[in-house]
């Protein structure tokens, strides 16, 4: 079995809860190590925040690139400040790594980091600062409900950690005499963690049903399961176990290959023909299975409506296999040309496994193959599903197969559409009427042939969509194991419909420490002796937003007239960035000229000098 996110998130929460429930005294050596582990946890939580796609309503188009303009920014900045508070307490070689609190915090840090790594397996760096999805789970991960569920979990953990620190700090016996540096660091970090937890709750916004928490926990690592070997005699239980594995492998392969479909030598009519053939056989077998299940539901006295819905699902499956049959028929004539040694796509090479197992589930012959010699009657209803629970499991198996076929269809349809647009579809000249006198084996497919092929795919896509949607509902109502497919589809569909979304890409992971030093506003608040973390956090958010705004403006300016004013512009750019990044210490009078890029904040005005020779900063207050 592949690891799933819940296997990391759950234990992380348990370890944090266990650490937070510790009520004994924390020896000095353990304090240092606890701060170290807490620092790691906080950094990991900040990285989670940096990963999240939480568009700011005012800048949805830039959400993927923006750090500050996301709803996660306050939480990330609060965690950043918490980490900064913890740093002075990290240190000392005389540490107690065997203390239970340290052990729990260390384990929680590991689980959280591993969980984040698991989520990252579903994306790859595109080289443009964005992460490109590499699995069908990626849009689920970036979906609103799953993001909200993750935020809720992380907010709870952060809150638990803050509460634990609070009770530590009020126990003077924990460190007789003056508080240790570690305890002081913890005390300083505690309000920031509370701010972070509150910011996460605020960013969450969306309410999410329990199913989405279940979906969050079910996100697997983006590595396909091993190919189940075809057994000579696989009973129903084994088939119901292996068909979903094969389906998952095919889903993964279809998406993985889609990026290569345009140039790969294996993207040929041979592969698409194989897909259509196996999909038709699988859908045909699924039709038989669903009808047999409906019969069995009646025999077991299950609710008549359930049986009727199974029959309706079978009817949808008839539409599906007939439409696949039509696609296969179109490939009888249209071709990409015979190319020896081109091979098959990964999907085409393996989809036969799905057809074979679906057939063995539908028919009595345990050694069923498409050959006439293996033809047999459909399974006895009681053999297919002995008890009501078995009906649900077989239904889930059909659901998995149908879902995989639908995704393969979408992938193939897109690839064939591109092939048609690029005039890579042909017909054998010998099959055309005698009026064609072409001295080649193939000729470009006449438009009616191409249109008929694409229409067949379009019809099949609609039929597959109807069948999948019906099985989604049926599986969800029956609480079938495959109901996660339905929840995931709903979540990813919602993501695609969100304004400003771009192909489910998400921002490249933000570094945990986003602002090396406090920005201008935050510094001003510090100077005003403001210690309220809520106000300081607001200041940090404003600083970061301003920094990004200036960076964006600078980039626009540079692209506009990079040649004309290269020298002077570069100086202005550097100065503008430096002024907003640094505290205002560096500002020196510069011929009384105020940079247009630098705003005036209250009574504090920043001026810059043309004689700046280093990166030091100073403040001029008037």
């Amino acid at each position: 079995m592949r690891p799933v996110f819940g296997e990391f998130l759950g234990p992380a929460g348990e370890h944090i809860a266990a650490a937070a429930s510790f009520r004994g005294e924390l020896p000095y050596a353990a304090q240092c190590q606890a701060v170290r582990q807490l620092d790691i946890i906080v950094a990991t939580l900040a990285r989670y925040m940096g990963d999240l796609s939480l568009p700011d309503p005012f800048g949805p188009a830039r959400e993927s690139r923006s750090g500050a303009r996301t709803r996660a920014a306050p939480a990330r900045l609060a965690l950043d400040r918490a980490a900064r508070s913890l740093r002075p307490g990290v240190g000392g070689t005389d540490t107690d790594q065997g203390h239970p609190v340290v052990g729990h915090l260390s384990a929680a840090a590991d689980y959280l980091a591993a969980g984040r790594d698991l989520l990252h397996t579903h994306f790859t760096d595109s080289g443009t600062g964005l992460q490109t999805p590499t699995s069908w789970w990626a849009p689920v991960i970036t979906s609103g409900p799953v993001t909200a569920a993750l935020l809720s979990e992380l907010a709870n953990y952060t809150h638990d950690l803050a509460s634990w620190i609070a009770q530590l700090a009020i126990r003077p016996r924990a460190s007789p005499g003056a508080p240790t540096a570690a305890l002081l660091a913890l005390r300083d970090a505690e309000p920031w963690l509370r701010q972070a937890a509150a910011a996460m709750q605020t960013a969450q916004r969306q309410r999410f049903p329990p199913a989405d928490r279940k979906l969050l926990g079910a996100i697997p690592t983006s590595i396909p399961p091993p190919r189940p070997a075809l057994g000579a005699d696989e009973p129903v239980a084994v088939l119901c176990e292996r068909i979903p594995l094969t389906a998952e492998r095919l889903r993964h392969a279809a998406l993985a290959f889609s990026a290569d479909a345009r140039w790969s030598a294996a993207a040929t009519s041979l592969s698409w023909r194989r897909d259509a053939l196996a999909s038709a056989i699988t859908s045909h077998a699924s039709d038989l299975v669903l009808r047999t299940l409906a019969e069995r539901a009646g025999q077991l006295g299950m609710e008549p409506l359930f049986g009727a819905r199974l029959r309706t699902a079978a009817w949808h499956m008839v539409e599906a296999w007939q439409s696949w049959r039509a696609v296969a028929g179109q490939w009888d004539i249209v071709t990409t040309g015979a190319v020896r040694g081109a091979g098959l796509t990964p999907v085409a090479a393996e989809i036969g496994d799905l057809a074979l197992r679906a057939g063995r589930l539908a028919y009595r012959n345990a050694h069923w193959t498409p050959a006439c010699s293996h033809a047999s009657l459909s399974r006895d209803p009681a053999d297919l599903a002995y008890a009501p629970g078995d009906i649900i499991i077989v239904l889930a198996t059909v659901h998995h197969a149908t879902d995989a076929i639908g995704r393969i269809l979408a992938s193939d349809r897109d690839a064939v559409t591109v092939a048609a647009a690029e005039n890579r579809l042909y017909v054998p000249v010998r099959l055309l009427s005698d009026k064609y006198d072409i001295p080649h084996p193939y000729t470009p497919a006449p438009r009616p042939h191409t249109e008929a092929l694409l229409t067949a795919y379009h019809t099949a896509a609609k039929a597959a969509s109807r069948a999948t949607a019906f099985l989604d509902d049926l599986a969800a109502d029956a609480d079938a194991p495959s109901s996660l497919l339905a929840i995931a589809r709903q979540a990813s569909t919602a993501t695609r419909r969100s304004p400003g979304r771009q192909d489910n890409q998400r921002a490249h992971a933000q570094p945990p420490i986003v602002t090396p030093v406090p920005g201008w506003i935050e510094h001003t608040l510090h100077n005003l002796q403001i210690r309220d973390p809520a106000l300081l956090l607001r200041a940090a958010v404003i600083d970061e937003a301003a920094h990004e705004l200036v960076a964006e403006a600078v980039a626009k300016t540079q692209s506009r007239d990079v040649v004309a004013n290269q020298t002077s512009r570069s100086a202005q750019v550097a100065a503008a960035q430096q002024d907003l990044r640094c505290t205002p210490r560096a500002a020196q009078p510069m011929k009384d000229q105020v940079s247009p890029a630098i705003p005036r904040f209250g009574s504090a005005t920043v001026k810059r000098t043309s004689k700046r020779t280093d990166h030091s900063c100073s403040t001029t207050r008037r």
Binding site: L270, R273, R274, L277, A280, I281, H284, A285, L288, R325, A328, G329, W331, D332, T335, G337, A338, R340, A355, G359, Y363, P370, A371, C372, S373, H374, A375, S376, L377, S378, P428, V429, R430, L431, L432, S433, D434, Y436, D437, I438, P439, P441, Y442
Partner: protein
């Protein structure tokens, strides 16, 4: 009564009478086309044989595609006439196709051994393999 029997008999006869490589390739091409069309017609007649006929039709396209790029295949367009009666028994049709595919496999295998051009040899080998698959799919005894 199976009305496609004359068609398959004609093609089998033609396969046996071919002498030159272009003739073998042309007859083979038409034989695969006949098998494809007959198999497609029979696909939804019996649910138990749906997969068999669909896969046979697909294999027939494989065989035809292999022969299409053979260098010695003549450019002329010849097409096999075929008709199948609505009452034709799918089992009997499977038997006919198995027999035709076996004849096709044997003829293409022997042609491959005599082929001068590597392209013709490869085409005959691939097409013979496809005919062999059809034979296995359609045979109703032990494959």
């Amino acid at each position: 009564m199976v009305s496609d029997m004359p068609v398959t008999n004609d093609i089998e006869l033609r396969l046996r009478q071919t002498a030159s490589m272009p003739e073998v390739l042309s007859a083979g091409f038409d034989a695969f086309e006949a098998i494809r069309m007959i198999a497609r017609d029979c696909e939804d007649r019996t649910p138990e044989l749906f997969a068999a006929f669909m896969t046979a039709a697909d294999a027939a396209v494989d065989g035809r595609e292999a022969l299409t790029i053979a260098p010695s295949l003549s450019a002329g367009g010849t097409r096999p006439g075929h008709a199948i009666a609505a009452e034709a028994d799918p089992g009997q049709t499977a038997d006919l196709l198995a027999a035709l595919a076996a004849a096709l496999r044997d003829r293409l295998t022997s042609a491959a051994d005599l082929a001068v051009l590597p392209g013709d040899r490869a085409a005959c080998h691939e097409a013979a393999a496809a005919a062999g698959r059809i034979c296995q799919l359609m045979a109703r005894g032990d494959p």
